[in-house]
């Protein structure tokens, strides 16, 4: 059980680091929002499941899973609201220069 939870947590950390690199490297708001949503979906899932496995069965595990479900409901809403505000205020998506 301990080893399984360590594997989950390390995989989650990998996705969190990739998302942070993406937030630095990608060129504009719209593509950065993809990196943030990568963290929110798979990174948070793997991290929180690993932590819940570490704690073992009980009320705490149930509470951590409730937080996870809450994250899955809330995050698409926030990302959509931000991207829609960016699009409506007239921002143009970045395009690769064709040379």
């Amino acid at each position: 059980m301990e080893i399984l939870s360590i594997i989950f947590i390390v995989a989650g950390l990998f996705f969190l680091i990739v998302a942070a690199i993406g937030v630095i490297r990608l060129p504009d708001v719209f593509s950065r929002s993809h990196a943030v949503s990568l963290t929110d979906s798979l990174g948070a899932f793997l991290m929180l499941v690993g932590i819940a496995l570490h704690g073992g069965l009980g009320t705490n595990m149930l509470k951590i899973l409730v937080v996870l479900a809450l994250l899955y409901i809330i995050n698409p809403v926030i990302t959509h609201a931000t991207v829609r505000a960016a699009l409506r205020s007239g921002l143009k998506p970045w395009k690769k220069e064709t040379s």
Partner: protein, 88 residues
């Protein structure tokens, strides 16, 4: 296991710094809002790992639930305001 959790905490704090760079640097205001959203997700994970580290998960999980709900309200309010106001 305890020392492993400590390393995770330090790594998460460094990742928070990366997002903070985006918040301070971001060319448009939407980059800053997006960075704050990423910071809040990371902070929720950080709080729960901290709860495991100090062996008080029952308390820290409640704090992180409240943080997630407050983050929803705040981010929606900011996005709605910027949509009405137009790009600054």
């Amino acid at each position: 296991m305890k020392i492993f959790l400590l390393y995770i905490l330090v790594l998460l704090a460094i990742l928070l710094g990366v997002y903070l760079y985006r918040v301070l640097q971001g060319p448009t205001i939407f980059d800053r809002v997006l960075g704050l959203n990423g910071i809040s997700t990371k902070a929720i994970i950080l709080l729960i790992v901290m709860g495991i580290y100090f062996e008080r998960v029952d308390m820290f999980v409640d704090i992180s639930t409240g943080y997630a709900l407050l983050n929803l309200v705040g981010a929606l309010a900011v996005a709605k305001y910027l949509e009405r106001k137009g790009v600054p």
